[in-house]
């Protein structure tokens, strides 16, 4: 058998990657409190428990507010940065872009600690607002990376053509550029939403007395009887991310089909 060992390796790799995720729904629907085989029976009581957990609801609400705001803010900022960096030449551009992209490689713990000390120093009260600040900082580089490639693939003469035909630079942006980079904008929104939603360190440091979903989940692991509930929550989150990714891919493909561009491969 040619490449036999590679096949075994690939299989083991995939198993290692996805088996824990498959275990998630398995134990979420299991009757027992203990996470162990053999399974003792089918039950939906852990899901029911989710519905009756006000602190969890608060954490989810906070996380959603943070993630949605972060996604919109960082994508909006990234549109400007990506447009400027792909379209214009200006002094200090390389240095400036480097600074903006730096959080991509900076350990998050350093970002979190330094932000925390600065915020405490200037006397800003910790809240979900400060978490949003931190998340925008780390999400913006991802958004710029995505949007830069969207702006880069835009033929510059399209803009010139619209301008030549009497449009102003603003209406050119609205009528031509925006629709053509829309798939990139949607990807950017989804990615920054996802990053923000499951970000732990910054949220843990900057949330103050508030709590976000990852912080809440982490805190629940101290109580063994809460673990199956977390499994149920995890199951819901996995389903949700599959749905989100499918939507993103749908928009990406539709965008490609509309503009007739070649498919260079997306997330899926």
């Amino acid at each position: 058998m040619r490449g036999g060992w590679f096949k075994v390796y690939a299989l083991a790799y995939l198993l290692f990657l996805y088996a824990p995720i498959i275990l998630l729904p398995l134990f979420a629907f299991n009757d027992a409190t203990v996470i162990a085989f053999p399974l003792s029976g089918f039950s939906t009581k852990w899901f029911a428990a989710l519905a009756d957990d006000p602190p969890l609801h608060l954490a989810v609400k906070n996380s959603l507010i943070i993630a949605v705001t972060t996604a919109i803010l960082s994508t909006a900022l990234a549109v400007f940065a990506a447009r400027a960096s792909t379209r214009y030449r200006f002094p200090g551009k390389a240095g400036l872009m480097g600074l903006i992209m730096l959080p991509l490689v900076l350990p998050e713990i350093i970002v979190a600690v330094s932000l925390l000390s600065v915020l405490l120093m200037i006397g800003v009260k910790l809240s979900i607002f400060t978490v949003i600040l931190g998340h925008v900082l780390v999400c913006t580089p991802f958004c710029i990376a995505i949007l830069s490639s969207a702006f880069q693939s835009l033929d510059r003469s399209l803009e010139e053509a619209a301008y030549d035909l009497g449009e102003t630079s603003f209406s050119t942006f609205r009528l031509i550029i925006l629709p053509l980079v829309m798939p990139g904008i949607i990807s950017s929104l989804l990615i920054s939403f996802t990053i923000s939603l499951d970000e732990f360190i910054i949220a843990f440091f900057l949330a103050g007395t508030e709590t976000t979903l990852p912080v809440y989940i982490f805190s629940q692991f101290r109580f063994p009887k809460a673990v199956p509930v977390i499994m149920a929550l995890g199951t819901i989150l996995v389903c949700l991310s599959i749905v989100l990714l499918s939507i993103a891919e749908f928009f990406r493909r539709r965008g490609l089909a509309r503009s007739g561009a070649k498919d260079t491969g997306g997330f899926l």
Binding site: A162, D164, L165, G166, L180, S259
Partner: protein, 364 residues
């Protein structure tokens, strides 16, 4: 023919990109209603010059006048010019109809009026019935037509074409050349074409400006440009030109007496010696088709020179011969039409080559 009014005028136009001097003092005028071409190798500044008309490129000094008005005062989206881009720049997310009607958006026309004008524009370029198609589903030639219709629907005073045919294959290109000529005659709009293809420029233009290194080397109608190029550079760029060393022996009334290597002595009229310097050692040029091989039995002429066939290139309708004239080191190229009674000669054949002093151009 009466002189047409000037549509575009360049007055000492200079353009720098940092240290790079892209346009070095352009002075020229383009007449209303003419088909004008900017021809030159890549990097000669022809596209930059076109873009100064459109308003996409600021000039460093000098003046561009469009229909008598200083263009510097008019932003690109207000100029009476429209452009067909090299990449066509068809808006990929819009239909053919929406692309063509894009320029009329601002006019806020009633729906049936808009539909009628888009329909007229599509009919003009032969795309009736394509209105509802997605723009990205079109072929290269169809995109080209959409770009044309879109640019012409605003009835601009000047249509700018930036190498519009370079992406098409040879057959399609030749067909579009003829269509563009017809279209230009039909609408009567001034066309300014940028091209690096000398044949395309000769076929389509009323007048051609040949550009090298940011300067216009010669501005003339195609025939003058081909028959009486002013410099060796122009002669070399347009078509094929043979060059032979020559010596000016004496100035005579209306021209000069020249001794051409391999051909012998002859008189060249003043209009065949365009540039003014009077060096003794110089060069004459002549086109391949101005030489003729005389076959056995053809009568001797006053001007003929013996030579040896060194290379034969058969093209179907034409045969190109490289003939080494006696007494000249490098061969000259000559073109013969293949008609009955003119067999294709073999390499090594001795041949008599007839020539005419009228076809010579003296470069000094």
């Amino acid at each position: 023919m009466t002189e047409k009014p000037t549509m575009i005028e360049f007055r000492d136009v200079q353009k720098y990109y940092g240290d790079y001097h892209a346009l070095r003092g352009i002075n020229a005028s383009i007449r209303a209603g003419e088909f004008f071409s900017l021809l030159g190798p890549s990097g000669c500044g022809k596209t930059t010059l076109l873009r100064t008309i459109a308003g996409f490129e600021d000039i460093s000094s000098g003046t561009v006048l469009i229909d008598g008005k200083d263009a510097a005062q008019i932003p690109a989206n207000k100029r009476p010019t429209n452009m067909v881009f090299q990449s066509y720049a068809i808006f990929p997310h819009l239909t053919v109809e929406e692309n063509v009607g894009f320029g009329l958006r601002r006019a806020a026309l009633p729906k049936d009026e808009l539909g009628r004008r888009v329909g007229d524009a599509l009919a003009m370029v032969g795309l009736t019935g394509f209105g509802k198609r997605a723009a990205h589903a079109l072929s290269g030639g169809q995109r080209q037509r959409v770009a044309l219709a879109r640019a012409l629907i605003l009835k601009p005073k000047v249509l700018l074409l930036d190498e519009p045919l370079s992406a098409l294959d040879k057959k399609m290109r030749e067909q579009m050349q003829m269509e563009l000529i017809k279209l230009q005659r039909q609408v009567g709009i001034t066309f300014v074409l940028v091209t690096h293809d000398q044949e395309e420029a000769l076929v389509m233009s009323d007048r051609i400006a040949v550009m090298f290194e940011g300067q216009i080397a010669q501005l003339d109608d195609p025939e003058t440009l081909y028959r009486r190029p002013k410099t060796r550079q122009v002669a070399d760029f347009i078509g094929t030109m043979n060059f032979l060393p020559a010596k000016v022996l004496s100035e005579v009334p209306g021209g000069c007496e020249v001794e051409v290597a391999g051909l012998g002595r002859c008189q060249i009229a003043a209009d065949q010696a365009p540039s003014g310097r009077s060096d003794q050692d110089t060069t004459v040029g002549f086109r391949p088709e101005t030489l003729t091989i005389l076959y056995d039995g053809q009568a001797a002429t006053a001007r003929e020179t013996p030579g040896t066939v060194e290379e034969v290139v058969y093209y179907g309708d034409m045969t190109y011969y490289d003939v080494k004239l006696d007494g000249v080191s490098s061969p000259v190229r000559l073109a013969m039409r293949n008609v009955p009674g003119r067999p294709v000669l073999d390499i090594g054949t001795r041949a008599r080559v007839a020539w005419s002093p009228d076809a010579l151009v003296l470069f000094r």
